[in-house]
Each structure stands twice: as C-alpha cells, then as structure tokens.
Subunit: 254 residues, 2 copies
DNA sequence: AATGAGCGTTGCATATGATGCAACACCACG
DNA sequence: CGTGGTGTTGCATCATATGCAACGCTCATT
C-alpha cells in the first residue's frame, strides 16, 4: 500500500539471511543506491538495523526488544505461565504454549524439562505446522473455509514416516482433533519424540492457544505419555477458566 | 530521513506498549486516520503487525521470526554457546552472554542455573547498563570519547545501595575494569545477586562480547563466586581464541 | 425499529517528499 | 599514482504519500 514503507520493510527479511552491504541491498530491492541508503538510514535510526564495522548492515538490537515486549504483552501467556511451570514441576517434561497467527503457528512460551538446558530461542520459531500437536489444535478450530484453504496451501514435508503426508489426511486429522478436544504427535516430527496437547479457549469458546507436553520415547513410551493426558487437559481447562473468566483485558493502559 | 518510513516505524514501539486501535495510532503519530491506516496495512502485509479480533493492532509474529534469525546469525553467539553450556555444567550457575550496540547492552544468550532460585533476565532484554558486569566490560572498551559521552547521557538508578551512583564513579569503575580485564557486580542490581564477568575479544583485540556468571548469595557467597573467576576468564579466553581464530596474527593493541 | 455516534474504509486532488541521476569522496589495490 | 570499487551528497523531477470528505458499518440508546 505504501511503496516506500514496503521497500524499507523488505530489507528486514533480506538482512535476516545475513549481513549485506549497500549495493546488495539496492540490487535486491531494485532501487538506486541512494534510495537504499536513505531507507537503511531510517531503519537504522529506529534501531532495526545495525551497521557493523565493515559497514555492512545486519538486523539490529531493537528488534529483540520489540519482540520481547510483544511476547510479554500477550495475556494468554501471562496467565498460562504459572500453570505451565506447575505442570512441568509435576511431570518433568518439556511444556509448550503456542498460538496461531497469519497462517503460522508459533511457540510463545516453553518450560524446559530438567534435561540439558535448551535454548530459550525456540520461542518465536514457527512450528512444524502439519504435524505438531499444538498446530493441530489451533488449526482444527479455524472456520471450515479457512482451514481448507490453508491445508491446500501447505507443504507436507515427510519429517518421518509418520508425518502427515497430504492435505486430505491433514483435514481428516483435524476433524478428529476437533471432535475429541485433544491432539497428539507421535513421532511425526522427530522419530523419537511424542507430544500430547490440549486447547485453551477464550470466553467465546474459540481456541486462543494450545499447550503440549513433549518427551522422547527413550524416557517414556507413548502409552505412558498418553496416561498424562487427563492431567494436561485439566491444566488447559484451568487456564481456559482463568483466561475467559472475568475480563482482565477489558482495557489497556492509557 | 524518510518521513513515511519513519512514521511507519514509530508505530512499532507504540504498539509494544500494548494493543491500540486506528484512532489511537493516528493521534499518537499526529497524522490523519487514513494515513495511519495505510501505514498499518503495510506493516501488516509484512507481518510486523497483527490485527486481533477486536480490530485493534498489536505487534506481529514475524517480529519474532526476524529477531530469531538475527540472533542466530551472530557468530560470536554461535561460537560461544557450547562453551557457555560447558561452563554451566561445571559450576551450575546462570551464564550470560551480552553485546553492546547503539548505546545499549543486551543479552544474546543465556544458560539457566540448575539451582531452583533463578534470576530474571531474558534474551533480548536491555541490561541494567550502569551496574551489570557485562555492561562494564563492554563499555570499558569503548573509545575514551564515546565512553565519556555515554556516561554523561546515562541515568544512574539506585537499584540498591551498592548501585553505581553517578557518571564519575561509573567512569572510574570502567577504568578499573579496563585495567584488570574482568568485572563484577556485587549486589548492584539486586541486593542478593552477585555476578562476575570476563570479556571476549575479536582478532583486533576489541571487546566484541562479554560473558558473566550470576548467583544469588543464598547459594554462594561473593567470595566463593570470586573464586570461580579464573575459570570464567579462562572460558572467555578460549572463546576469544576460537572467535578471533584463523589468523593467528598477534593483535596490534597495547 | 429508528437514530445517531464512533469507528474503519475508500477515491480523489494536491503538493509534499521520495526518487534517480550525476558528481564527489574515500579506501584499497595494482 | 592511477583505477575500480565503495558509500555519500545536492538537486530537479514527478511519483507517491497525504488529508479531506463522504460512505458504510456496528453497536448503543431511544
């Protein structure tokens, strides 16, 4: 809609691939160097882009700060967090919280199992949308049309032999998930990892987030993990109740 | 430099404070609603902004993805990470990695303590720049003029009675840190938390990052923590060697 | 039901502001 | 001491962002 802004923003994903110099940016944008320079300068002033010693540009620090603040303002996350921690303390495995947005599913919180300390950095990473339990839960609740459209658009990479192979199978799986109110991923993403998940709903009954528990089958078998399902669903329900409870997001700040 | 882009980008920090509707955005930008609409639409197309059901805008998912990719492209981080993990396994406390950029110091990696008492910090979060050990290390290496200018510009909040109170004391502390090649923060940010840190240098000898170990004094006393200093410094040196790696050219810094 | 207030949205005329050009400055390299 | 590759600046042109006013919609009020 706004050409100038559009061009400027196009620089960001470009730099996400790695640092680039002025000429490269100008070329990839298809604009004059001087134009690219002005855009980069503006991005720079806002801290979204940083210029390293060799004069090349890369993504800047404010990006983190923004993503940071954004995630902290998500009220589902805030409400859910203590419950996720409690669940984690009880059963020990990794617990995830995810939301759906603009054809992507992404983790917005994670509590690590007591295993080798993993990176915080997976938060924000797009989820394997065709196989993850949380993805199934979130997509299963989309309106029919949107669900169908999305399924058509997706790729179905065969991470493992048990990955969901195509749109038809995917839609069928979503129907099941929708029906039963919980979801699994049994080795569909990584051969040895199983997940079980349950939905968190808003006051209107729509699914606003999904949580899951993941564990490698060297630790617990799929059956043992499934035995935890009632506990997981109960946790999700508690969060749902608190989230849809009153109306704590009635007003922002002023 | 580019007014349109400038305005568009100004929307991001504004939304970081919390969701806002079109009118609010237009007001705070001082532009017509229709203008704000176009800017928001452009931001939306790039996924930086998301429109929730109530039509209000908030920061979008791509922001995470970008921050994600950005941090993954930092080579210091990549090289340092395994060493940080190893150090954490050896001593158990929380380990941080931070860089300086544009008058801010921010964490780019963190390995959690194995102890139940954890420190609140987040990757991407700006560090308390006047007191943190990593901040001292990074700032101590700035050119004289820049260091002085920055010190003048800073606020010196008294987080605790041991916080550094003013620019003069700060510059003095930086001189010490510069001299000795390591830094501490003994209860300067939170009364009960101590940190020790060491610098990581590039091939030219300039400090490119800083690492620290933090522990609450209910777990280890400051003296016990300081006893770990040689270990921390050694780790930092190993990272430095690997990072400034290939060309074993002796640096020209004295 | 009817009315109106408050919000987001659209098309359009205007001139602001973004653009590409060409010339310049700088550095590294031969 | 040139020469080719950078990044940078000032400027004339016109593309493009802007504000306006009118419209459509939803919701609350009567």
């Amino acid at each position: 809609m706004s050409q100038t802004v559009d061009r400027a923003l196009s620089i960001l994903p470009l730099l996400a691939e790695g640092p680039a110099d002025l000429g490269q940016v100008a070329d990839r944008l298809g604009v004059h160097k001087s134009t690219a320079l002005r855009l980069l300068r503006t991005l720079h002033e806002h801290g979204l882009v940083y210029r390293q010693q060799d004069q090349r540009y890369r993504l800047g620090a404010r990006l983190f700060a923004l993503a940071q603040e954004a995630v902290e303002n998500l009220d589902v996350r805030e409400i859910a967090h203590p419950h996720l921690v409690a669940l984690n303390e009880q059963i020990g495995h990794t617990v995830h919280l995810a939301v759906y947005e603009e054809s992507e599913v992404l983790y917005i919180d994670k509590v690590e199992s007591r295993y080798p300390v993993r990176m915080y950095s997976r938060i924000g990473k797009p989820v394997a949308i065709t196989v993850a339990a949380v993805a199934k839960l979130l997509l299963a609740d989309l309106p029919e049309a949107e669900r169908r459209a999305l399924a058509e658009k997706l790729d179905f990479p065969m991470y493992t032999s048990r990955s969901i192979p195509n749109a038809a199978a995917f839609l069928k799986e979503l129907a099941t998930v929708r029906e039963q109110g919980w979801a699994t991923d049994l080795g569909g993403h990584e051969e040895s990892i199983n997940c079980i998940g349950a939905p968190i709903r808003g006051a209107d009954g729509r699914v606003v987030a999904a949580m899951s528990v993941s564990a490698p089958n060297v630790v617990v078998t799929a059956e043992e993990l499934l035995a935890l399902l009632p506990l997981v669903r109960r946790t999700a329900d508690v969060i749902t109740r608190e989230y849809s409870g009153q109306a704590p997001r009635q007003e922002g700040r002023a």
